[in-house]
Amino acid sequence: MKKEPHRNGHAVQNAEPKLWQLRLYIAGKTPKSVTAFENLKRICEEHLAGEYEIEVVDLIENPRLAQDDQIVAIPTLVRKLPEPIRKIIGDLSDTERTLVGLQLRSSTK
């Protein structure tokens, strides 16, 4: 498990500062995992600069953790905070859908 906190301290969109806790489940360093992580980082930097925290969980190292978040598909991105929990599966190559999934953008937009 490795944590990569990215905090820039600037509230861009909201007056209230809030922390986005994101967890990315992967299974080894597969191309899909790498793509997903890169996509996630890019999206976060663009939309949540300084307000997010990404935790990458490699299930090959910690298979026990898959149970807690009901992980079936790999890669899965879980938005732990803010609630409610959201799950986004896939390599996050579809930015629009990722934003909808993270509820950074309503699906009508």
């Binding site: 489940y25 299974a27 899909k32 793509t35 299930l59 090959i60 298979p63 026990r64 898959a66 149970q67 009901q70 992980i71 079936v72 598909a73 790999i74 890669p75 899965t76 409610p84 929990i85 959201r86 799950k87 986004i88 599966i89 896939g90 390599d91 996050l92 190559s93 579809d94 859908r97 990722t98 909808v100 999934g101």
Partner: protein, 581 residues
């Protein structure tokens, strides 16, 4: 929990098999599910797929020390444990002992957004982790297809499922995958494409308001198997599958004979009664005494110190005991001694399978030497005809395989052919006794004869069957010119015969007297004749003497005369012959 584990067939098994431990299933699959391969179990809602899977794991863990993983897609581990607790399965205990791992996999579509490429590696990892944590040999995936409703990318799912089954094979675990039955296909999402080794189809049908569960082996690659639909049952002991007929016909045949409880009937059956472990059918119309005869057999069984299970569908235990007392048969002591057990149930209370299962269970628990089913015709009312006969076949088969003598009564309805049992099991029956009414002279009497009795010489005569204060008795019927005479006609005939016999003996006496008299007369006559003869003889002898004396005198005279004439001495006085000289 006592479960019999059927041994796999001794014939060369081409495929290694994994004994399920589920009653009957190993028998029809010829030893179990294909070892190290996935098996698909499909069927509609509520047909028992999950339970079959659970039992497969529990039996494996308890009986064969093979730990198992249950991957639940529909229920949480707690719900599952609660659901099967009523069947006597303690999942929590097994989980604690590391014999079982339950993982609940929940995929909620509304929570999930799909963005691009993914795979189901998470599922693999979880399954792999569960398998590794307890060293599982068995895996159940219940119901994998829910993934299709949780994830929208069909092509990814399909390729991942294909990979999953391959992976399961590689891991060498014996797996059961359950799936909902689809419209016109075995499974809703065509899983049968991927699982090709063994497919079981479960079914739950309601016929005549009575439901029956059935199991069919759709395919079993590399193994012979029963292809029929086998009824199965879920009760407090779990799943039981009943082979319609056991695949082998290898009953042991005992040469021991046991009494039917009626000495005269034993005498008709070659003098020794029926074979132990054979099946005896008593058929007849209402009120001919089937139950009475059956109770005699029960009594005889208990007298031998053996146990008897009496399954009654028409009378309550108390009623039966009271009624039998009226013919001088007190069965109550046997009940108290624990040698006789009644199982009384209304035939419509359960479906056929439940009846069969409860009989099985009673037999297992009580271990009787004699089982009486009175009457088997009741089963017809709780199922259709063919079902009832297949059930009877299985029952008879089962009892035979355990060397338990079966006594079945069969109620023939008036007007039907007597020599035809209502549920058409005659071919299974070793000894068939027919009780029938004989109507004559305004009377209705009972007759009994042996329709068949395999493997023994038996009487071909009709006997009159009497219910007396001392129980059942058989007497010979009178066969007269007007046919068979029974009841008072027989008694009248017997009286008549007795009278005739007395008359005859008197006649003989008279003749004997006459003969004596005649002999006496004859002897008297002989005496008279002899007397007369004696008299005649004496008279004749006297005459002869007189005659001789006269002749002598004459000679003497002639001699004297010649001497007096003084002629030559030998002159003409001699005989003419002498004179000529």
């Amino acid at each position: 929990m006592t479960k019999t584990v059927m041994k796999p067939k001794s014939a060369p098994v081409s495929l290694p098999k994994c004994t399920t431990g589920i009653q009957g299933l190993d028998e029809i699959t010829g030893g179990g599910l294909p070892k190290g391969r996935p098996t698909l179990v499909c069927g509609g809602a509520g047909c028992g797929k999950t339970l079959l899977g659970i039992e497969f794991l529990v039996r494996g863990a308890v009986l064969f020390d093979e730990p198992g993983v249950f991957l639940a897609f529909e229920e949480t581990a707690e719900e599952l444990a609660q659901n099967v607790r009523s069947l006597g399965f303690d999942l929590e205990d097994l989980i604690e002992k590391k014999k079982l791992a339950v993982d609940y996999i929940h995929v909620e579509r509304s929570e999930i957004e799909e963005t691009g490429e993914y795979d189901l590696e998470g599922l693999f990892i979880r399954l792999g982790h569960a398998i590794d944590s307890i060293g599982a040999k068995r895996v159940v995936l219940d119901t994998l297809e829910t993934l299709f409703s949780g994830l929208s990318n069909d092509s990814i799912l399909r390729s991942e499922l294909r990979r999953l089954f391959r992976w399961l094979k590689q891991r060498g675990v014996t797996a059961i995958i359950t799936a909902e039955k689809g419209n016109g296909s075995l499974t809703r999402h065509g899983l049968e494409e991927y699982v090709s080794d063994c497919v079981l189809l479960l079914d739950h049908r309601v016929e005549g308001q009575i439901s029956t569960r059935r199991l069919r082996i759709v395919k079993y690659r590399g193994s012979s198997h029963g292809t029929n639909e086998f009824p199965f049952l879920i009760d407090e002991g779990g799943v039981s599958v009943f082979p319609i007929t056991s695949l082998q016909l290898q009953h042991k045949a005992s040469a021991e004979r046991i009494s039917t409880g009626v000495p005269a009937l034993d005498a008709m059956l070659g003098g020794q009664g029926v074979y132990r472990g054979s099946s005896v059918l008593l058929s007849g119309t209402a009120g001919v005494g089937k139950t009475s005869l059956a109770c005699h057999a029960a009594n005889a069984c208990c007298q031998r110190g053996e146990r008897c299970l009496y399954i009654a569908f028409e009378e309550s235990e108390a009623q039966l005991l009271r009624n039998m007392r009226s013919i001088g048969l007190d069965l109550e002591p046997w009940v108290k001694k624990g040698l006789l057990r009644f199982q009384v149930a209304r035939p419509t209370m359960n479906g056929l399978e439940m009846h069969l299962a409860s009989i099985h269970k009673q037999v297992e628990a009580f271990q009787p030497q004699l089982v009486i089913v009175d009457p088997i015709t009741s089963f017809v009312s709780s199922g259709t005809g063919p079902e009832a006969s297949s059930m009877m076949m299985r029952l008879v088969d089962y009892l035979k395989s355990r060397e338990i003598t079966a006594l079945l009564t069969n109620l023939n309805h008036a007007g039907t052919v007597l020599e035809q049992s209502e549920v058409e099991i005659s071919s299974l029956i070793d000894t068939w006794l027919l009780l029938r009414d004989i109507e004559l002279n305004g009377e209705r009497n009972r007759g009994l004869y042996i329709l068949k009795s395999r493997g023994m010489s038996h009487s071909n005569q009709i006997r009159e069957f009497l219910l007396t204060d001392q129980g059942v008795q058989l007497t010979e019927v009178y066969l007269g010119p007007e046919g068979v005479l029974t009841g008072s006609a027989r008694l009248a005939q017997e009286a008549k015969e007795k009278a005739t016999a007395v008359e005859r003996s008197l006649e003989i006496e008279r003749k004997r007297g006459e003969l004596e008299r005649r002999q006496q007369a004859l002897e008297a006559q002989i005496a008279v004749l002899q007397l007369q003869f004696q008299t005649d003889k004496e008279e004749m002898e006297r005459d002869i003497t007189c005659e001789q004396a006269y002749l002598e005198k004459l000679e003497q005279g002639r001699h004297d005369m010649a001497r007096s004439r003084k002629s030559d001495s030998n002159g003409h006085i001699v005989t003419p012959k002498k004179a000529r000289k």
